[in-house]
Symmetry: C2
Subunit: 647 residues, 2 copies
């Protein structure tokens, strides 16, 4: 893919990048420093200070606590590249200095092993997340280098990566193994991209190719540890760690869902960079399985909290769901890489679905509260009183002991500019994957610098406009192709294309509308998406959704909340062929479009005698239902929430 | 209650008592001796042989393993009292002899502490089930004495009870505590009934009255153990053990459901025997909560496998359900005692519901396979592949490591004669609670011996007939009252009463039809129950059943199985006002009545492209559904099963 420069200029998304900049990043800095009252302490900064010898104390938090700091630094990097912030940058510089002080002579950095188990490095790859943390350090360092041009963090990361490269591999004397939590694989590709050092790409390939070989390293290591684990019980569960089979033989998404999608992300990158068709086929197979059979309508993945894992095809319970925020973020990473492998709108459709629903919904409007688990059905009493649902929180939390999700949201939302466009290698085609107002600049195959301005009214209205600027070029026209995604929102009519105000037919390819011409300065493209509000049904094999429907409008899935519709929500259903009416409600939740629907309510009066079971009688009465965008749920008061409602 | 003699003579139930006698009891004997291939070993007999010094070895199984043997012996006692079996009795005598050999000088019997933790007796009342095992020994010993007249086992039990009485109580030097698993409380009342020894009643009262007092004994004991438990983690969970509050202050059923109903059983007995109105009020309050708000339509209780526990009002998920067999058996015990407190049909209705559905369904037709968990919705793939549902087995198991349920079923089914009738203390009223063909004999208040024969066509047909015999009396007529239960099956008409063939009006009181007269030899009473097949709805606050209905016919709840209706069952729904047609199917599952219903099936053809979500379209086609009695499910092949179906 050819390089391009993208700056977001979008009402809807600017609010989020500003929230990340002004609130999420400062808030999370306080959290990393254990200064949020009433929140679980992070210990992350403190661990680094202890590891650097600046403070005395015990290691705190999870074994992978370092990664929270790295993800925060990555978010900071994106944020200051979007909008310079010298004060924030100087905080980041100080922290990077601290990381440098915690780095060992040989390049090793990990506060857990430095403080708590010195000398035991690399003895528990199955559980201890050393390479995982290294991966997050590398991602942050690469982002920080891109943002600031400063090399210090990148050098720290390279030293660590070089150490890892010297330790792992098939050669005599090396550890022939890989990490229990995939992450470094995708990070090493970023490091390769920025440094051009082939050895980082090779190391990433090595980790991917080694994974799942027999005999299993994890089992051998466990034998060496005297058949003991530190954080889990029993024999290593290879499936949970996607190490049950070589990756090319994996056909269905299994195990811990964040691990899975981080791995698939690296696989897609490697398939492209090394032109590896068997790896590409594995990616395509796993993509179909994941997104067709194991994905919630909100773009959430992972059906059970036990192992934070996939279960099996079509098993998508709404109330005992996991749908971890990080897993949807990883799904977005993966979709992004699949788009680079092949520009097919399906990948962007999923990316958009996960972004506008599961991921956006994981953060509160105030940017200070987060969901780890993103349910499609919530009943607060059950979350509190039924232990099978304790993991399903009805209210976003301030911070988590295992706080992987909040900084992951921050780094995604502050790097969204990387998800909107692709320019083909020859510079001749620009793909528009997402409809996010922005300015795109690149140099075409003919060496012309082109600027495209996208203005988008999404998600509320369907009008998207592109204007082409050739300012600064001598040439009067630039020949290239614009490929605009045709979203799969199941609308009853195709989007309308106008060029310079004139309606145009367009060629469809892989879900993109393609228009090739010699573009002149000032040319405009209008892309008018019909935003119909629709009732959506789930595949009949998704048993929990049988007989139910969800509301979707454009990319947004809707839900019903108790505050608008009363309780129990299960007493409500859609009326026969209900009318769906859209309402602009600028006063609600920062402004949104709600959907009013004809519904039916079970009349409870016949149950006043408190009998639990009685002969069935028709006892419904008409009622108006109000649905709000799913991503806005839980921003008013704790209560029931449902995405799927009986028809 | 006045004593009576009851012998079951009933086609439907005889099959079960014969199954218990010929199969369940011999099979479980093999299981207790670890001779069932492919089943988890019991170790129960082996533990007693080791404790008795006859064998060397380690203790095997759970800390409460002894109780399996005691429950089996109790079942044997009931069985041989129904039908003498000298060979079985001699096996029982030998085992009782073995128990005697394992008894310590001071009366103590417990193989776990004898083998594994000698000297640590009574140091872990919270977890170690010593008094629980003692309770099951007492129950078995009382039953065996009733069945055989032999005192040896009763003497063993009395010696142990006397030891316990000398150790526990409020007096100086005694342990002021109670068992983590209630059971001995109800057992001591049986021991009091058979021996007339007031101290056993007092000891039972003591355990009940002590429970839940502050400071908590369990917490103090845990402190003494260095804040450690052997089988669980963290501080003692007082609610799970119903020791969070004094029993009279408990208002809702909480915690481990078997513990709860065993305790309520003893409370109801004590309320009656000690005329304790506050205890009675607590029982009535807990009864209403349990049966109105925390009971499945099958009579199952316990909504979560975590702690095998109640959760909260109206929380009755069908697929992650617990509904343990033992819990429904305990509910039957409790209902039985509530009937003795006050003859109200509500108690018998619940008893009947739990018996004909949850309990009967827990055992396979062959008497050799059992459910521990009795789900209302089963999808075998989910049981296998979603860890949230691993506890929900789609196929009955041969035996369990924790095998409390199978012998509990055996002892209930072989003692069913105790659940059919009550005679008032004055001998003047005979209550008919259950419609099970049987012969009842008692002596009226006037000293006349009366025999009543009940012939019942239940559960398949509604005709019940009673004939009165005064044979052996000089008197020509016996004045007494017959009170026959009016079942709450929500039928559209009242049962018809005929005396000597003549239709009669009848007085209703507390859900019983009462007929008082001077009965002559040969008088007959016909009690004709309308057995309508009906669709039943659940209270709207039972969210998982919203928009659904279940089929019930008389006492039997029905279900749909995949073998009759295809898969997925979730694609099926009831048609609008469906016709429910009954079919006698003598060839099916030993003969039963199935119900054919007009249904609708989702047409899956529009989903052939494997999209997970699409706009909702009406795509149902008419189909015939076949429902079988719930208690017969899982006797053909593994597959889906649903009790609740969409309407």
């Amino acid at each position: 893919m050819r390089k391009a420069k993208v700056a977001i200029q979008d009402t809807f998304w600017k609010e989020y990048s500003e929230l990340v900049r002004q609130t999420v990043i400062p808030y999370q800095w306080e959290a990393l420093n254990d200064r949020i009252e009433g929140a679980e302490p992070s210990y992350a900064i403190r661990n680094f200070r202890i590891a650097a010898g600046l403070e005395k104390g015990e290691f705190g938090g999870w074994v992978f606590q370092d990664s929270d700091l790295y993800k925060w630094l990555e978010a900071v990097a994106y944020s200051i590249s979007n909008q310079p912030d010298p004060k924030l940058e100087s905080i980041a510089d100080e922290v990077i200095d601290l990381i440098g002080q915690a780095q060992h002579e040989n390049g090793y950095v990990n506060t857990y092993f430095t403080i708590k188990e010195p000398g035991r490095q690399w003895t528990n790859l199955y559980e201890a997340h050393e390479l995982y943390c290294a991966g997050h350090m590398i991602e942050a360092a690469v982002a920080y280098y891109h943002a600031t041009g400063k090399r210090i963090f990148l050098d720290i990361a390279c030293r660590f990566a070089d150490l890892i490269d010297s330790l792992f591999g098939t050669e005599q004397g090396k550890i022939q193994a890989y990490c229990g939590h995939q992450e470094i694989e995708l990070a090493l590709i970023k490091l390769y991209n920025v440094t051009g050092e082939q050895r980082y790409l090779n190391l990433s390939s090595y980790f991917i190719n080694e994974r799942g070989n027999k005999p299993s390293y994890f089992v051998e290591e466990w034998e060496r540890r005297g058949r003991k684990n530190n954080w889990s019980q029993g024999t290593p569960n290879l499936e949970v760690y996607q190490s049950h089979l070589p990756v090319r033989e994996q056909t269905v998404a299994v195990g811990h869902s964040v691990r899975a999608v981080y791995m698939y992300t690296a696989m897609a990158d490697l398939a492209r960079l090394t032109n590896d068709s068997s790896l590409r086929e594995a990616c395509e197979r796993l993509w179909i399985n994941t997104t067709r059979k194991q994905m919630y309508i909100t773009g959430g993945i992972g059906a059970t909290h036990l192992g934070e894992a996939f279960t099996f095809d079509y098993d998508l319970p709404n109330d005992t769901v996991y749908a971890e925020t990080c897993a949807s973020i990883g799904l977005i990473f993966w979709a992004r890489r699949m788009l680079q492998l092949e520009a097919k709108s399906d990948y962007a459709d999923v990316m958009e679905r996960a972004l506008y629903n599961n991921v956006l919904g994981s953060m509160s409007k105030d940017g200070q509260h987060f969901f780890y688990v993103n349910p499609l059905e919530v009943y607060p009493d059950a979350s509190e009183k039924n232990p099978d649902k304790h993991h399903v929180k009805p209210v976003r939390q301030k911070w988590f002991g295992c706080s992987c999700c909040p900084p992951n949201v921050a780094r995604l939302l502050s790097s969204l500019h990387d998800y909107i466009y692709d320019i083909s290698n020859d510079g001749k085609t620009v793909y528009v994957h997402l409809f996010i107002g922005s300015e795109l600049q690149w140099v075409t195959g003919d060496g012309l610098q082109v600027t495209v301005h996208q203005r988008s009214e999404l998600p509320w209205h369907g009008k998207v406009e592109f204007s082409i600027s050739l300012a600064g070029n001598d040439a009067k026209a630039a020949p290239f192709e614009i490929a605009v995604r045709i979203p799969q929102w199941f609308q009853s009519q195709d989007p309308i294309l106008k060029i310079n105000g004139e309606p145009q037919h367009y060629r469809k390819h892989n879900g993109y509308a393609k228009m090739e011409r010699a573009w002149s300065d000032g040319d405009t493209v209008e892309w008018i998406l019909p935003l119909e509000t629709q009732l959506i049904a789930a595949h009949p094999l998704i048993r929990p959704d049988a007989g139910k429907a969800a509301i979707q409008r454009g990319p947004l899935v809707y839900c019903l909340e108790q505050v608008d519709n009363g309780s129990p929500l299960s007493s409500l259903s859609f009326a026969e062929e209900p009318e769906l009416r859209e309402h602009e409600t600028p006063e609600l939740l920062g402004g949104c479009i709600t959907v009013e629907v004809d519904g039916l309510l079970v009349d409870e009066s016949v149950w006043l005698d408190n009998q639990p079971y009685k002969p069935l009688h028709k006892n419904v009465k008409p009622v108006q239902l109000t649905a709000i965008p799913y991503y806005l749920w839980g921003n008013r008061q704790a209560g029931e929430m449902n995405v799927w409602l009986r028809t």
